[in-house]
């Protein structure tokens, strides 16, 4: 259990530092008080700096499809959390919880990414359990 305990402690620390793990201000780009929940299919994954990103086609209530741009941490931060560049694949059905961009763009900071089988990918803190 030791490593599990350590991992949990580490994730607590990560949560506390979450908004600082970026090369830009989190608060001026995303509104932590504007949560979004998106369900759709992954259309592209960019394993790039300064942030890894993925894009999801989301069906709107009127039947149209909107492509959302979802920001993650940097590839090295994600690797440090055990993720790989193929942890999320094009075609995966995902449920994403995040914070919406203040600019009004179809963009969000992804906090929790859940696959159809419930597996969490790029989870970022203990509240994601």
């Amino acid at each position: 259990m030791r490593s599990v305990t350590l991992a949990a402690a580490a994730l607590v620390a990560l949560l506390g530092a979450r908004h600082a793990v970026a090369h830009h201000s989190f608060a001026t780009q995303y509104d932590a008080n504007a949560p979004v929940t998106l369900s759709g299919v992954v259309t592209k994954v960019e394993w790039t700096n300064p942030h890894a990103r993925f894009y999801v086609d989301v069906k709107e209530p009127d039947g149209s499809v909107t492509n959302w741009n979802l920001e993650l941490a940097s590839p090295n931060v994600l690797r440090c959390n055990g993720w790989q560049r193929d942890s999320l694949k094009v075609g995966d059905e995902v449920l994403v919880e995040g914070s919406a961009a203040r600019s009004g763009a179809k963009m969000a900071n992804a906090r929790v990414v859940r696959l159809a089988d419930g597996t969490r990918v790029f989870a970022r803190g203990p509240e994601d359990n």
Binding site: A9, A10, A13, L14, A20, H24, P50, H51
Partner: protein, 267 residues
Amino acid sequence: MTVRPLAIAVAACCALHTAVAVAQSEPPAATSAAGSGGLSNPAIVPEVPDAPPPRLPDGTVDLTGIWSGGGPIGNIADGLLPGEEIVLLPDSEALMKSRLSRDDPEANCLPTGVPRIAPYPWRIVQHPPHGPATHLFFLFEGNIHSYRQIFVDGRGHPDDLDPTWYGHSIGHWEDDTLVVETIGFNDLFWFDFAGHPHTEQLRVIERYTRTSFGTLENEITIIDPGAYAKPFTVKYTATLRPGWELMEYICNENNQDVPHLIGPPGL
């Protein structure tokens, strides 16, 4: 030598995983069934020896290693020592108030300058490696993928410095503390996300003390009569990240953030 867990390991980054297998000795949680929500990734949790700082054969403290932190990120005022205060001159106060988050050089993939640090790991290299060092190099993963060079060979500052992002740094040892003085800065970088400014008159004194194997304290005095009414001193602590490695970080590769940074600077 005992080993203690480094709890905040995953707050930053690591590209090399094979050297930190201790904390991963247990298999990751199994992929969960729908809705049960088990974590499926094993976080990397390096361990730091609970030991005094290592020394070179000549007795000098060895600062080499991968570190994270050690300087301001969000707001330099967070590191103020007791009794210290930041007093902006009117022009600098007006400049700071006029700044917009999207103009932050770091957000635009430009260097942090000094003493700002990015939330990514960095490495200290000493040359020659077995001391006494005449040069120290700070290699930054981000932001940007760049370096500082600290001359510890007794030279002074040149008379005709061109203003630069990292300035010209000379260092000397005072007991176990490496004292680094840097001048020759441009006025382009910010001290933090909050937008604290400076002028080309900036002089920074950093006092690096490796107080334990895994801890590097950095006491920083900011002297800039062009921007601040008086010097002020802040203190930050860098943490050793054994087993981590720097990863390529080309900020301009996919920097989509700037148009979406709204309003004045913020955390």
